[in-house]
Symmetry: C2
Subunit: 222 residues, 2 copies
C-alpha cells in the first residue's frame, strides 16, 4: 500500500469543498487529469486588500505547475515575491436542461490550487520549462519551431507552484428535480466541447509547408 499516500491531497480547512460537498474530490489522478486537459487558468492575487484575477497559461510538470511570463511583468514579479495565490482551472462540459428554472445547472470539472510560486533558475531548466509549455498547448510543436535564444530565455521568468493544497469540484449528469416537475418541458443535457476550427494560414508564412497534423486535427492531437 506504499502508493496510497499519493492518491489524495490532504483536505485542508481552505480546500475542503463545503457547498455541495458530494461534488468535491481530493483525488490526485482526477485533479491532474483536469489540469492536463486545460492550459488556461485564472490566477488570483491580492494587492492592497483587493483581489485580482488574471487568465494565464500553465503546464503541469509532475507535482508542480509551471507559469511563465516576461521579467518585466508586474504579475510575474508579484508572484515571484511569494505572494499567496489561488490558481483555478475550469472545464465546462455541458448545459443541464431541467424541468424547473432553479433546477438548471452546468456540468463542469474545476480545480482550485492554493500556494505560492518560486522562481525557477538556470538556463537548461528554463529551456525544459519552455519545451513543456509549447508542447502542452500544441503537441509536438517544440520540435517544429526555433528554440528560444539566450536573450529570449533571459527575458522570460519561469515560476513553479508546488502542488500541495488542491481540490476538485465536478458536476456530471442530468437535473435532479422532483419527479412531479418532469413532464412539461424537454429535459436533458447539451454536451459542450472546445472545438478547433479549420486552420488559417499566416500570410507571412512559408506557403510550401503543408498544414501539420497538430494544426489540422488540433483537438484530436491534444
Amino acid at each position: 500500500m506504499s502508493e496510497t499516500k499519493h492518491t489524495e491531497f490532504p483536505r485542508t480547512e481552505r480546500t475542503t469543498v463545503r457547498r455541495k460537498p458530494d461534488r468535491g474530490s481530493y483525488d490526485r489522478d482526477l485533479i491532474y487529469s483536469i489540469l492536463d486537459e486545460a492550459f488556461v487558468c485564472h490566477l488570483g492575487l491580492v494587492h492592497d486588500g483587493q483581489p485580482f484575477v488574471m487568465p494565464t497559461n500553465y503546464v503541469r510538470d509532475g507535482d508542480r505547475l509551471l507559469l511563465h511570463g516576461s521579467t518585466a511583468s508586474r504579475l510575474m514579479r508579484t508572484l515571484a515575491s511569494g505572494a499567496p495565490l489561488c490558481l483555478t482551472v475550469t472545464l465546462l462540459d455541458g448545459i443541464v436542461f431541467a424541468p424547473t428554472a432553479t433546477g438548471h445547472s452546468v456540468n463542469y470539472r474545476s480545480v482550485v490550487v492554493l500556494g505560492k510560486a518560486e522562481i525557477v533558475e538556470g538556463e537548461a531548466t528554463k529551456m525544459e520549462a519552455m519545451h513543456a509549455f509549447v508542447n502542452h498547448v500544441i503537441r509536438g510543436r517544440w520540435e517544429q519551431v526555433l528554440a528560444p535564444t539566450e536573450q529570449e530565455l533571459k527575458g522570460t521568468m519561469v515560476l513553479q507552484v508546488p502542488l500541495r493544497e488542491a481540490s476538485a469540484k465536478v458536476r456530471t449528469g442530468f437535473a435532479v428535480d422532483d419527479a412531479k416537475a418532469y413532464g412539461a418541458a424537454w429535459t436533458g443535457l447539451v454536451p459542450m466541447k472546445w472545438a478547433a476550427q479549420t486552420p488559417i494560414p499566416d500570410p507571412r508564412g512559408n506557403a510550401s509547408i503543408p498544414v501539420p497534423e497538430n494544426a489540422r486535427n488540433y483537438s484530436r492531437t491534444r
Copy 2:
C-alpha cells in the same frame, strides 16, 4: 455628443492594462459584448489575506452584473458583506502557431471587473433576475419551464455588481515574430469555439416532447 460619456470606462490605477497596453480597452460596447457572450466568470475574493478564485454563473443586466446562489453559501454571504471582488471573464478564440517557440500565443478576449456586490431584495426583482439567468444561458428556456416557487426564491440570494471599474484585454491575429524566423515551420491560427454537441435526453424526461430548438441548435440560438 451627450452619449459619449457612456462609451468608455474610466482608466483607473487598478484597471489600466500595463502589460501589452495595446491589447487593453475600456470601451463599454466591447466589454459588454464579451460579458454577454460568456456566462461563466472567475470570481476572486480575499479571506485572511489568501485569494480564492471560484467559477460561477452571471448575467449582465444593463450597467450591472447579477450573481446568484444559495443563501447558505459561504461565498454568497462573503460577497453580500461588501467584500472587494474581482470578476474575470475569458473567451479563448484561437491558438497562434508562430515560427519561434516564444512567439506562440493564444487569441482571447477577457474582461476584468472590480467592485463590490450588493444584495438584491424583493420577490419580483429576484424573479426578474432568475428569468435573466436562465435565458442568458439558454435562450427562451424560462418560457418552457416551471418558474421558481416562493420557497425557492427565498432560498436564493441575488447580488448585483454595479459596472463602474472594468477593462478588457484582447489579442487577435497572427504571430508577430521577426521576418527572418518564418520559413522553417507552418505558421497560422487554429480558431477555437465552444461548440454544443448532440443533446442527450434525460431518461426521467417526457419522451413525447421533441428536442426544442434551443437544445438542438444550442450554439446557434445563443
